[in-house]
Symmetry: C2
C-alpha cells in the first residue's frame, strides 16, 4: 500500500490526468520478464506474503507425464523462484534461443499471469504471458519500423448465422492507397478451439506478413482468417452468447459443415476486396483442424486453389459424415492431382500425435500421384511450429 | 495434477485435435465469475495451498485513502474470500446493478487475474478481469444478434512517424456492401496513457455503436479512434519498441503536437473512406487528455466540426506551449462561437478531479457566448462514465 501511495503521489503531482481508477493498480517498479541482449531472461514477482512461487513455460526443459490410461506426453517443466530479503522472487534462465516463449507463474499453487507483464496470449481457455528473445528465428515475429498492413475484424454474410461469421482480414501496406492494384489471397485456418483471432495473436501472422513482404520475401497478399467453428459465429466474447468460458467441446467441427459454407466466404472476399479471383492467385492453408478444412476444401474445389498448406493437419477426419463434401474423398483427391496445384505443402513435427497419420497420408498422395513438398520439423502440436510453418510457406506462394 | 490428468484424458479421448500445449492449462471446472439473472455474482478460485485470498474491483463499496500530501481519493474496496473444505475460495455479491465491472483477485498479497476468467481489459499497465451484469444500463455494452460493423487497425501516414500512426476505424454494418452510400465521421480520442485500442476495449465503443445504430438511435457513422500520443505511433506491443511496459510518462501529450498533426488523419480518412467531408457530418470528441485534444482541434478549425464532445476533459491545458495551435485560445473560441456548432457537449462526474476546472470553463463559454449542453454525472474520472457519455452523445450526432 505504501508503494502504491508513492506511485499515486508521483502520478498526481506529475501527471494529473492519468485515470484515477488506474493509478492504483499496475506493476510498480518490478520489471518482468527482463530480456537481455545476450538472451538471458529474469522473471520477478513482488510477493512478500507468498510461501512458494514456481514458474512454468515453454522456456523450461520439458517433462514427461503419463496419463492413467498409459499415454505419455511432454509438458512444460517448472522451477522454483527464489525469494530475496525484500520479498521479491526471481528466476533467471541464463540463455535462451531466439523464439517467442509463453509462461505462467504459480503463486502458492495457483497458476496465474505475471502481474508485471501486460503481453499475454489466450489459447482456448488458458492465458499465458509471453516474451520474445530477439534473433534470427524470432525476427519475423517482431514489430519493425516498416510499412504495416491493416488488420480488420469483418462480419461475412452466412447462411448459418443471421448476422454473419467473423473473419480477420489482413490487407498489405499500400492496399488503401494503391487502389488500382489487385492482390492474391490466402485463406488461413485455425485449429480446434481456436477462432478468427488465433493466427494474428498466437500466430503473429500480421507481423510475419509485414516483415516478409517488406523484405520482398513474400508477395503482397490479402490474408483471410475465418472463424472455422461452424457452431460459433465469432470468438468467445464476440457473440450474443456473452462472456462464456471458451471450450473445445463444440459440435460440427469436422463433419463437413464448415467446408460446405466456405464458398460464401470466398464469394464475399472476391466481392468486397481487390482480389485476383483465379487459381494462380488463391491459396488455402490451416493448422490441425484447419489443416483438414483446407485439405477437404481444396479437394472439393480442385480448380480453385493453386497453393495448399497443411500444418500439423488432421488428415484422416470426416469419414463418418454424410456431408456431400466428404463423399468420394479419394476420387476428389485424384481430380485435384490431375489439376496439378502449383504447391501442396505438408509440414508436421516428429513429436506430433498426428505424425503417423500424416506419414500415411503421404503414401496415399504417392499412390494417387499428387506431387507434394513434405517438411518434417522437431516438436509436437505447438504454436512455435505453426508460426515457423507460416514463415516457411508464405515465400512459396504466388511465384 | 490429478485434475489436469483427468481433463487431459477426457480431451484426448473425445477431442484428439486440441492443441497438446493447451489441454494442460486452463481453468478446469471452476466457473468464475458466475453471474446469475438476478444480479448476484459469485467469484471462485481453486487454491488449496493459499493462506489468504481477497477480491477487489468496481463492484465493491469504495474506500477513501489519503496520500502523504493529504490528498484524499476513493479507491475500490476489498473483501476476504472464504475457503471451503475442497480448497475452493468463494465470494458472493448478492445483488449488483446492471453495469460492466472490473476486478482483481489477491492471492497471498499478490494482485492477479482470476484464472477462470479469460475476459480482461488493459488500462495502461494494469489488467483487470471484467464481467457484465445484464440490464438496461449495460444493454449497450452487450454483443447482440444484430448487424455488426467492421473494426480495423489501420496505419495512417504521418510526418512524425516513418510508417504512420495506428488508428482504430469502425465502419458501420452495410459499409462494405452498400458502396454508393457516404457516411458522417466521428473522431473519438482516448485519455493519457491510453491508445488506439482503449475506446473499443475499455470503452465498448463497437458494441455501443452496433446497438445504437441497429435500434435507430444513432446514425450509421464511421468512427475514427486515433493513437493520440504523439510520442508513440501505436499501442504498447504494436511498435518497434517491442514489448515494453506501458507508461503514462510520455512527452508531448498536451503541448500541441498532436493537434498540429491531426489534419493528416482527417485527410487520410476523407481520402480512403466514403465520408461526407463537411462540418454537418463531422464530429470530434474525447475523454480527459482526448477531451483537451478535441477542444483544441475544434477551436483551431471552427468550420470543420459541427459536433464537439468533451468527456471529463482536461480543459485548462496547453498554456505553456509555444505551438501555434495554442496561440490566442480565447480568440479562437470566440470564432468557434460565431461558427455556431450544432452541438458543444460537456460531461463530467461530480467526483472528478477535473470537475472544478470544467465548471470554470463553462463560465468562459458563457462569457464568450458559445452555446453548450452540460451533463453532470455521479462518480469520478472512470471508464463507467466514459461509456455512459458515449452512449448519451452518439444519438445527438448528425441529426
Amino acid at each position: 500500500m505504501k508503494n502504491s501511495l508513492l506511485i499515486l503521489a508521483a502520478a498526481i503531482s506529475g501527471m494529473p490526468l492519468a485515470a484515477q481508477e488506474t493509478i492504483w493498480a499496475g506493476a510498480g517498479e518490478i520489471v518482468s520478464p527482463d530480456v537481455t541482449p545476450d538472451g538471458s531472461v529474469t522473471f520477478r514477482i513482488n510477493a512478500p506474503q507468498a510461501s512458494k512461487i514456481e514458474i512454468t513455460g515453454t522456456m523450461m526443459p520439458q517433462q514427461e507425464v503419463t496419463t492413467p490410461q498409459g499415454m505419455t506426453f511432454k509438458v512444460a517443466g517448472k522451477a522454483d523462484m527464489l525469494k530475496d530479503e525484500n520479498g521479491v522472487w526471481t528466476y533467471t534462465v541464463p540463455t535462451l534461443a531466439p523464439e517467442l516463449y509463453t509462461y505462467n507463474i504459480i503463486v502458492d499453487g495457483v497458476t496465474v499471469n505475471d502481474p508485471s507483464n501486460v503481453y499475454r496470449l489466450r489459447d482456448i481457455n488458458s492465458i499465458t504471458d509471453f516474451f520474445i528473445v530477439p534473433g534470427e528465428a524470432s525476427a519475423p515475429y517482431m514489430v519493425n519500423n516498416i510499412p504495416h498492413g491493416t488488420v480488420a475484424k469483418v462480419w461475412c454474410p452466412s447462411a448459418q448465422a443471421d448476422n454473419g461469421r467473423r473473419l480477420t482480414v489482413y490487407t498489405p501496406a499500400g492496399y488503401e492507397t494503391d487502389t488500382s492494384r489487385r492482390y492474391p489471397v490466402l485463406y488461413l485456418h485455425h485449429g480446434m478451439g481456436g477462432d478468427e483471432n488465433a493466427w494474428t495473436e498466437l500466430g503473429r501472422a500480421s507481423q510475419i506478413l509485414d516483415n516478409l513482404i517488406a523484405q520482398g520475401k513474400a508477395e503482397p497478399m490479402i490474408v483471410v482468417m475465418p472463424n472455422g467453428n461452424i457452431a460459433m459465429e465469432a470468438a468467445p466474447g464476440e457473440t450474443s452468447a456473452g462472456l462464456k468460458q471458451p471450450t473445445t467441446r463444440l459440435p460440427h467441427t469436422m463433419d463437413g459443415l464448415y467446408e460446405e459454407s466456405f464458398p460464401e466466404i470466398q464469394s464475399f472476399i472476391d466481392a468486397n476486396y481487390r482480389t485476383i479471383p483465379d487459381k494462380a492467385h488463391r491459396a488455402i492453408a490451416g493448422l490441425s483442424m484447419g489443416g483438414y478444412h483446407s485439405l477437404n476444401i481444396s479437394r472439393n474445389h480442385p480448380d480453385d486453389f493453386g497453393y495448399i498448406g497443411l500444418f500439423s493437419a488432421a488428415v484422416d477426419r470426416g469419414q463418418n459424415s454424410t456431408s456431400p463434401v466428404n463423399a468420394d474423398p479419394d476420387g476428389k483427391l485424384r481430380r485435384l492431382a490431375q489439376a496439378k496445384p502449383a504447391l501442396y505443402w505438408i509440414a508436421i513435427g516428429n513429436e506430433d500425435f498426428l505424425y503417423d497419420s500424416n506419414k500415411e497420408y503421404l503414401k496415399k498422395l504417392d499412390d494417387i500421384g499428387l506431387n507434394y513438398v513434405f517438411v518434417e520439423s522437431d516438436g509436437g502440436h505447438i504454436w512455435k511450429n505453426w508460426r515457423t510453418y507460416l514463415t516457411q510457406f508464405l515465400p512459396l506462394l504466388f511465384k
